[in-house]
C-alpha cells in the first residue's frame, strides 16, 4: 500500500539534494488500462503477432500483447508497440474486440511528472553479456552453442521442451555437454571485461547438476580457469558435483568448430599443462558474465554519478552503498558483480542508509486505511452469500456458471447467490460490499480463482463491509476446474459445484478471529563488538532504538583490529578507531565489555537475556537481537609453522610488515601458500578473503621493491568480482602464480636462515624448489567457539561448517528462522570488511522492520486451546516446530488438570498440533479439524 509501483518508467532528471530531491519521471504507454485488466489472457490468445520472447532467451515466442512472465507483478498485460499491428498500421485490434473488461486503450500516451523524495536508491541491475559475433565461441553460428540463460529455459519444466534436454539443431539426444566459463568475464581481448562476474561458476555448477538430473547418464564437463566457489556452502556443492561425475577441466579455450554434419562440435582448448587438446560435444553452454546495461549508464548520467571503467559504481568499503552524491544510494550489481544474497544484503543496507537521515519524517507520508466498526456476528445464524465469477470467459467459457449459481442457492445457509463477470474488479468489490450490508450477509464465498492471488482482496472487501475478514472462503473453480478440464465442461461444472459446496460447508463453521497484536520492546541486544556489531549498534541507535552492546573481550574492534587495508586500499585502523569512538559516545548505546550471554528466554518482541560480567549476572530485556560474534583464525600445524619464525600466518605477516620487522623489510623472496586449513576434508569451505589478501600483500611487497621474488601457490585464485583487477595487476608486476593440487601439496624445508618450498610445476611436470626468506600461510577463518553456545542459548541453527544458518540463503540472508533474531559478519561466513558492513546494515534494516510491527496486526490464523477439551496430554508440545506451546501455569492443579497454552506470536498456524491432538483440544483458527472434516464430508454429499 505504501509502494507505488511505476512500470515502463524511466528517471529523466534528478534535482535537489539529500532529504529533498525532485525527480522527473517519464512513463511509456502500456495501452492496457491497469485498473481494468484482469489478466484473463483472451487478448494474447487472439493476438496474431508472434514475437521472440526475450524473457526466455528468445527460444520461445510471445504475442504482441503479453505478460512478461506468468506470475508477473503487476499481473497486467502490456502491448509491445513495436510489434502491435494496430499501433503500427492501424489494422487488427483483435484484442480490443475480445477484452470483456474493456481494458485496451489505444489512446494511452507517454506522460512525465515529478515526485519529491528524501532519498534515492539505484538498483538498475545488469544484462547478461552478449556473445554474438565473437568467433571463439561460435554463438549465433552453431545452433548447438547456447547460453547459460537459454539452458535455464531448456531445463525448466515450464520451458519449451518441458525440461527435456535436446540438441537445438535437430532435436537429437544430448549425450555430452560442455560448459565454458568466463564468457564475458576475465577476458579483455574478446569482450573488454577484465573483471570476474562472480556468479557464473556457481550457476554453471547448478545447471550442470540439473542437466545430470534431467539427462540421466549425460556426460558433463566444465572448462574453467579458476573454479570460484567462495560463498557459503558453495565449496560443498562443488565437491558434490565432482562426486556426481561432472568433469572439471582447467584450461584455456581455443575455439569451437563443427563436426561434419554440424550436429556436434569440436571443442579445442589448451590444457593446464600447456598442450592443445580437443573433445567432441553435443551441446556447448556459454556461462555468461554480467555487464552494465545502457539503462544503468544513462541512470548514472542523469543522477550526476560517475561509473568506473567497467561500468559499475565505485563505493567505499566503509559505506558500501553510498554514492558520491549524498542521499543517493546504490545496491545490487550496480556496485559490482554479485550474487542474489549479496544483492539482497546490499538492498537492505541501502534501505537502512536511505532511512537513516530521514528519521524525523518517518511515517509522515505513509497512508493507512480506516475500516468501519466490525459487526458482531458471533451469535447470528450463518447467512452465506455466494458470488460465482465468470473471469471473462476463463471460467464461463467452460463451466456453466448459471447452473453452478442455481445449485448454490439450494445449499444450506446460503441466502444469496449471484454471478459476476469479474469478481475481482473494483466495481464488483463495491457491489459485494453493498450486498453484504443490504442483505445482512455474515459469510462470503467467492467461486473464482485461487485464494493465493485474490484472498487478500476479498478480505479487504469484508472489512470494508464491517465483517471480520476471516468469514470468507474461495472456491478455486478456475485454476482447479475450467482451466484444467477445458475439454470436459460437464465434469468441470460438476466439479465447480462440489468445490462451491465444500467452500460453503467450511465457511459456515468459520468464526470471526480477533486481530493478534504483538507487543514489542524496542530495545536491541547486539552480541559482539567487532565491526559488524558496532555497525549494527550504531544503525539501531541512530534511529532512536536503545541498544545493549555485549562484547566478550576487554575492548571493541574485533578482528578488524588486526587488519590494515581493505582490498580497495582504504586504511582500516582509522576507520575502526572512529567507529569505536562513535559507539562509545552514543547516548543510546550501553556497552558491556568482558561480558557473555549465558541464558535467554522469550520470543520476538519480548526477549530476556542474562549476561555474565565477571561473576555477576545481569538481566537485559530486549525486543530483538543481532548476533555478530565474529570468527577466529585457524592455527596451522603444517608447513613448518611451529618450527620456524619465518613461516607466518597472513595476519602475523601483516603486523611484521607494518612495524618494519627485518624478516620482511630485508626479505628478497616470499612464498604465499593458499588454502591453509580451507577447502580441506575437515573444513570443506573456502575462506573467501585469502586470495585477495595474499595478492594485495604481494603487490605491496613488489611496490616497495620490484626486484623481490614473490610466488603464490594456489589451488584456484578466487579474486571474485572487481577484485580480479588485483590479480591482473599482480601478474603484470611479475608475481609468479603456481597452481598446486590438493593431492600434491607443497612442502616447506627449513634451512639455517632461509626456507625451501617444494612444489610440482604443472607445466613442466617437475618438482620445483623455491628458496624463500619468508613463507606466508593464508590460513582459514574458522567459526568462533561462542557460536555453539549461542546456538543453544537462542535455539538457532548452525550449518555443517559451524557457522550460523540464516533463514533462507538467498532471500533472507540476515534473518534467523526464529523471529526477532538476526545475524551479521563472520559468524555467518567468512567475508571481507565491506561485505560485513553491508550485512550489518542489512540486519539493522530487518530488525527495524520487525520493531515496526508494534503498530501492526499479525495474521490471525493461529492455534488456540479449547480448554474444556484439552486434557493436558502434551503431545502437541513435542510436535510444534516453533516451540509455541507450553504448559499453562494457571492450570497446575496437580495430575490431570494441566492445560497447554499457545503463544500466538510464535505460532505460525501450521496445525501440526491439531493433527496430533487426540481430543480436539487445540484448533487452528480458519482451518479447524471440524472445518476440514466438513469439507471432506461435503465432498461426498452431492
Amino acid at each position: 500500500m505504501n509502494i507505488e509501483l511505476l512500470t515502463l518508467t524511466d528517471v529523466e532528471q534528478v534535482e535537489g539534494e539529500i532529504g529533498r530531491f525532485r525527480v522527473k519521471l517519464r512513463q511509456r504507454p502500456r495501452y492496457v488500462n491497469m485498473d481494468r485488466c484482469m489478466a484473463c489472457g483472451e487478448c494474447a490468445r487472439v493476438c496474431p503477432q508472434e514475437v521472440a520472447d526475450a524473457f526466455n532467451g528468445g527460444i520461445t515466442t510471445r504475442k504482441a500483447i503479453y505478460l512478461r512472465y506468468p506470475q508477473a507483478v503487476p499481473l497486467k498485460y502490456q502491448i509491445d508497440p513495436q510489434r502491435c499491428l494496430k499501433i503500427q498500421s492501424g489494422t487488427c485490434g483483435a484484442c480490443e474486440k475480445v477484452c470483456q473488461a474493456q481494458a485496451i486503450n489505444w489512446e494511452d500516451r507517454e506522460r512525465s511528472w515529478t515526485v519529491d523524495v528524501g532519498s534515492i536508491i539505484l538498483a538498475p541491475g545488469f544484462q547478461p553479456f552478449d556473445p554474438r559475433g565473437i568467433r571463439t565461441w561460435g554463438y549465433g553460428i552453431f545452433p548447438n552453442v547456447i547460453t547459460s540463460m537459454e539452458l535455464e529455459c531448456y531445463l525448466s519444466t515450464a520451458g519449451p521442451t518441458q525440461g527435456r534436454l535436446i540438441r537445438p539443431s535437430d532435436g537429437g539426444p544430448v549425450r555430452k555437454i560442455a560448459f565454458v566459463q568466463c564468457v564475458g568475464s576475465r577476458d579483455e581481448n574478446n569482450c573488454g571485461h577484465g573483471y570476474c562476474s562472480a556468479v557464473c561458476c556457481m550457476s554453471a555448477l547448478k545447471e550442470a547438476m540439473l542437466a545430470k538430473e534431467v539427462g540421466g547418464d549425460v556426460d558433463v564437463a566444465v572448462f574453467f580457469l579458476d573454479m570460484r566457489t567462495p560463498g557459503k556452502d558453495f565449496e560443498r556443492y562443488y565437491e558434490k558435483a565432482r562426486r556426481r561425475g561432472i568433469r572439471f577441466n582447467r584450461c584455456r579455450v581455443h575455439s569451437l568448430e563443427p563436426v561434419g554434419d554440424c550436429q556436434r562440435l569440436y571443442f579445442r582448448y589448451i590444457t593446464n599443462e600447456g598442450r592443445p587438446a580437443r573433445e567432441t560435444f553435443d551441446l556447448v553452454v556459454l556461462s555468461l558474465g554480467m555487464e552494465t546495461n545502457a539503462d544503468a549508464r544513462g541512470l548514472a548520467e542523469r543522477s550526476g554519478l560517475q561509473l568506473n571503467e567497467d561500468g559499475f559504481l565505485d563505493t567505499s568499503s566503509f559505506q558500501p552503498v553510498a554514492t558520491e552524491r549524498p542521499g543517493i544510494y546504490a545496491c545490487g550489481v550496480y556496485t559490482g558483480p554479485k550474487d542474489i544474497p549479496g544483492s539482497v544484503v546490499e538492498a537492505s543496507a541501502a534501505a537502512m542508509a536511505a532511512a537513516g537521515h530521514l528519521a524525523e519524517v518517518r511515517n509522515s507520508l505513509v497512508r493507512s486505511v480506516e475500516f468501519p466498526q466490525e459487526r458482531d456476528v458471533a451469535h447470528e445464524e450463518a447467512r452465506v452469500g455466494v458470488f460465482v465469477c465468470c473471469c471473462g470467459s476463463n471460467i464461463a467459457g467452460v463451466i456453466d456458471v448459471e447452473e453452478v449459481a442455481e445449485y448454490a442457492k439450494h445449499l444450506p445457509h446460503v441466502v444469496h447467490v449471484e454471478t459476476s463477470l469479474f469478481a475481482c474488479s473494483q466495481d464488483t468489490q463495491e457491489w459485494i460490499r453493498r450486498r453484504i450490508e443490504q442483505l445482512g450477509l455474515n459469510r462470503l464465498v467467492v467461486a473464482a480463482c485461487s485464494p493465493r492471488s485474490h484472498e487478500p482482496l476479498f478480505r479487504e472487501t469484508l472489512k470494508n463491509a464491517g465483517l471480520n475478514e476471516y468469514l470468507f472462503e474461495m472456491a478455486n473453480i478456475r485454476n482447479q476446474a475450467s482451466w484444467v478440464h477445458a475439454h470436459a465442461p460437464r465434469e468441470a461444472t460438476d466439479k465447480a459445484k462440489d468445490l462451491v459446496r465444500m467452500a460453503v460447508a467450511k465457511v459456515v463453521l468459520a468464526e470471526p478471529l480477533p486481530p493478534v497484536q504483538a507487543n514489542v520492546n524496542p530495545t536491541v541486544l547486539v552480541i559482539g563488538g567487532g565491526v559488524a556489531g558496532m555497525t549494527a549498534a550504531l544503525g539501531m541507535a541512530d534511529q532512536g532504538y536503545p541498544v545493549h552492546l555485549v562484547e566478550k573481550s576487554s575492548q571493541l574492534g574485533g578482528n578488524a583490529r588486526h587488519l590494515y587495508r581493505t582490498w580497495k586500499g582504504e586504511a582500516i585502523p582509522e576507520f575502526v578507531e572512529s567507529l569505536v569512538e562513535r559507539v562509545k559516545a552514543h547516548p543510546y548505546i550501553s556497552i558491556y565489555l568482558r561480558s557473555q550471554v549465558v541464558k535467554a528466554e522469550g520470543f520476538l518482541g519480548n526477549f530476556r537475556s542474562t549476561i555474565r560480567k565477571g561473576n555477576s549476572p545481569l538481566i537485559l530485556d530486549h525486543g530483538v537481537a543481532i548476533v555478530a560474534v565474529g570468527a577466529t583464525a585457524y592455527k596451522p600445524q603444517e608447513y613448518g609453522y611451529a618450527e620456524s619464525q619465518r613461516v607466518l600466518t597472513a595476519l602475523e605477516f601483516d603486523k611484521l610488515h607494518a612495524v618494519g620487522d627485518e624478516r620482511v623489510a630485508k626479505g628478497r623472496s616470499f612464498v604465499f601458500i593458499q588454502c591453509v586449513g580451507s577447502r580441506e576434508p575437515e573444513r570443506p569451505y573456502c575462506s573467501r578473503v585469502c586470495c585477495t589478501h595474499s595478492i594485495q600483500a604481494a603487490i605491496e611487497l613488489k611496490e616497495e621493491d620490484p626486484s623481490r621474488e614473490i610466488t603464490i601457490l594456489y589451488r584456484d585464485i578466487r579474486t571474485y568480482g572487481l577484485r580480479e583487477k588485483l590479480y591482473k595487476k599482480a601478474r603484470e608486476m611479475g608475481v609468479v602464480f603456481i597452481n598446486y593440487d590438493m593431492h600434491d601439496k607443497p612442502s616447506v624445508r627449513l634451512g639455517p636462515n632461509e626456507l625451501y618450498v617444494q612444489v610440482t610445476d604443472h607445466v613442466l611436470h617437475m618438482p620445483l624448489s623455491i628458496r624463500a626468506d619468508v613463507v606466508i600461510l593464508a590460513t582459514a577463518i574458522v567459526p568462533h567457539p561462542d557460536v555453539k553456545d549461542l546456538a543453544q542459548v537462542y535455539r538457532i541453527p548452525i550449518n555443517e561448517d559451524g557457522f550460523f544458518q540464516e533463514a533462507h540463503a538467498k532471500l533472507r540472508p540476515v534473518d534467523f528462522a526464529g523471529e526477532g533474531l538476526f545475524l551479521a559478519g563472520l559468524a555467518h561466513y567468512p567475508k571481507p570488511l565491506d561485505e560485513t558492513i553491508a550485512q550489518a546494515m542489512a540486519a539493522v534494516a530487518q530488525a527495524t522492520r520487525v520493531l515496526s510491527i508494534r503498530r501492526k496486526d499479525v495474521d490471525a490464523i493461529k492455534a488456540y486451546v479449547v480448554e474444556d477439551k484439552c486434557d493436558g496430554c502434551g503431545l502437541c508440545l513435542d510436535v510444534c516446530p516453533f516451540g509455541a506451546i507450553d504448559w499453562d501455569p494457571k492450570s497446575g492443579g496437580g495430575e490431570g488438570t494441566k492445560l497447554v497454552r499457545i503463544n500466538a506470536i510464535l505460532c505460525k498456524g501450521c496445525g501440526s498440533c491439531q493433527a496430533t491432538c487426540p481430543k480436539d483440544g487445540v484448533r487452528v483458527a480458519g482451518f479447524t479439524y471440524h472445518q476440514l472434516m466438513e469439507q471432506v464430508r461435503s465432498c461426498f454429499a452431492a
Partner: protein, 59 residues
Amino acid sequence: MIQQKVGAVLVVGGGIAGIQAALDLADTGFFVYLVERRGAIGGTMAQLDKTFPGNECSM
C-alpha cells in the same frame, strides 16, 4: 525548492534488490516509488527461477 525533508524514497529498478529495498522502506514508515523500466518487476531472478514467489514482492 522544497524546504522540508520528504518522507518518501525513490527506488529505481524492480529486480530483487529494488524489491527488497522497497519492502524494507515501506514497512518502516516511508512511502516508496518503485520505478521499473519494463512492464513488470522481478528482474533477472524471475528469469532464473520461474517460480519467483509473487508473495515476496506483493504489496
